[in-house]
């Protein structure tokens, strides 16, 4: 592993010189380190680049780390990782991605993650994306997450991108069986000329399945963001989508939520709000002794916390 990878790992996956549990560290398209455990087996795919991660049924309290780092320009990394989570398991998956580019050519990581979560299993999926380096070459991360939840399965997805990525298209799809729950929390900040596109598409196929999707974002500088969500209620189910965005400077945000009730007992809600930081919020924090700039910073950091 090179030093840049180590620095990126600290930022995107809380690496402190090692990981406890199963892990696979991807560096510039290759495997830098891997470890399986008794309950979590990580193997290479034979037909395409990527991994198969098998979690035994009933595995509880274990973590698996699948970070990927691109450390230079001219890399176009594509990886397909499939997670098979056994029935009744309860685990955490950490899948951060860092792209460092100090050169003139583009550096890109495309991670396509598929989750097949067995009955009654629970997965917490943490995904942090970051770009670093001052090269003129673009830093691009295009993650795809495809979630299949069996009956009573739950997946909580916490996804964050807080800077340095010039272009991203974040696609998440979900297919939920009866009583399955999908909870997604997205936090996104863009600045300069960065562009971010978010697409969520969830099918609530099973009775009493539910999705709760909350996206908070800040667009600064001349950056552009677009948010699109589609929730299809194909059975008696509940769906909630919330998109809140703060725009600063010349930032631009568009939101296009879509709800489709294909069943009369589907209960679907969408909330969206886009605007500058409210003047009253700034005034309130100023009356506590903060400068206007400190107040803005505090409001944004709290909003994205």
């Amino acid at each position: 592993m090179n030093d840049t990878t180590k620095q990126l790992l600290e930022l995107v996956s809380n690496w402190d010189g090692g990981f406890e549990g199963a892990f696979n560290i991807r560096e510039d398209g290759g495997c830098a380190a891997r470890q399986s455990t008794k309950n979590i087996q990580i193997t290479s795919k034979t037909d395409q680049p990527g991994l198969e991660i098998h979690v035994k049924p009933g595995t509880v309290g274990e973590r698996v780390y699948i970070p990927a780092c691109v450390t230079k320009g001219g890399i176009d990394d594509l990886v397909y990782n499939d997670f098979y989570i056994g029935e009744g398991a309860d685990i955490v998956v950490v899948a951060g991605c860092g792209v460092h580019n100090a050169e003139d050519s583009e550096a890109r990581h495309n991670g396509i993650h598929r989750f097949f979560v067995g009955k009654g299993a629970h997965v917490r999926y943490e995904e942090k994306h970051l770009g670093t380096g001052n090269g003129s070459g673009a830093r691009v991360i295009d993650p795809v997450t495809d979630v299949h939840l069996e009956e009573d399965a739950v997946l909580e997805m916490d996804t964050t991108q807080l800077g340095g990525v010039d272009h991203t298209r974040r696609v998440t799809t979900g297919h939920l069986a009866a009583r399955a729950r999908l909870l997604i929390r997205e936090r996104l900040m863009t600045d300069g000329e960065e562009v971010a596109q978010t697409d969520f598409e969830v099918d609530l196929d099973g009775e009493d399945s539910g999705v709760d999707l909350v996206s908070r974002s800040v667009a600064k500088g001349h950056s552009k963001q677009s948010y699109r969500s589609v929730i299809r209620g194909n059975a008696r189910c509940t769906g909630h989508s919330e998109c809140d965005a703060i725009i600063a400077d010349q930032g631009v945000v568009s939101a296009a939520p879509e709800l489709v009730a294909n069943n009369g007992d589907a209960a679907l809600i969408h909330e969206a709000a886009i605007g500058k930081i409210a003047g009253e919020q700034l005034l309130k924090l100023q009356t506590l002794g903060l400068t206007r700039e400190e107040a803005e910073q505090k409001i944004i950091s709290g909003f994205l916390k």
């Binding site: 005034l283 009356t287 002794g289 409001i299 950091s301």
Partner: protein
Amino acid sequence: MLKLEHITWDLPDGEGILKGIDLTVPSGKLVVITGPNGGGKTTLAKIIAGLETPTEGRIFFEGEDITGLDITERARKGISYAFQQPVRFKGLTVRDLIGLAAKDALDEESLCAILSKVGLCAREYIDREVDGSLSGGEIKRIEIAMVLARQTALSIFDEPEAGIDLWSFSSLIDVFQEMRRELKGTLLIISHQERILEIADEIVVVAGGRIQAAGPREEVLPQLLGNHQVCPSCPAMGRKE
């Protein structure tokens, strides 16, 4: 001591909202500003805290001319202001805001002590976001708690009773009296409530952009509750039944 000299404030179209307010608020006193709606009370409070700039006039605080200071500078000089309509923040918690007010991260015990004073079951609230999930009454009490946490020389409360239930209101009266007794700071409270007027050291009646009456409670309150001579346009002041 707070001293206002000929404070005037006009709307952009020239309509006068405050028309030459002269007022001296002694240190360590609890002063209630009262009067009819639209009379200029909130505008006056905002001018003192720096949220509005007077068209004319000067403001002195602890002997210093603070007319040119902005909100932040005045806050750092020791002026606190509890909004009449509190502000909501997505992502900031009660702990965050009270910590900012106290200029330090408070331990759980200190946070609970402050929140209990405003009638909130503290531990349930400290990690709640100050957003739409809180009721108007809850958020109002958190607004007041922020000013309590600051412990400044001058604390301004704009209609603190609004949205507060009766039990919490009684507790609030105790809090104001405790602040006067222990903090020895100056409290400037905008209110229509007789129970708040009854604990005032001094009462100032503002109507039509002017001070209609000012003086010790013993002198002004009977006139207010009696024949309205002091302020013909004033409604009955939250009078007890």
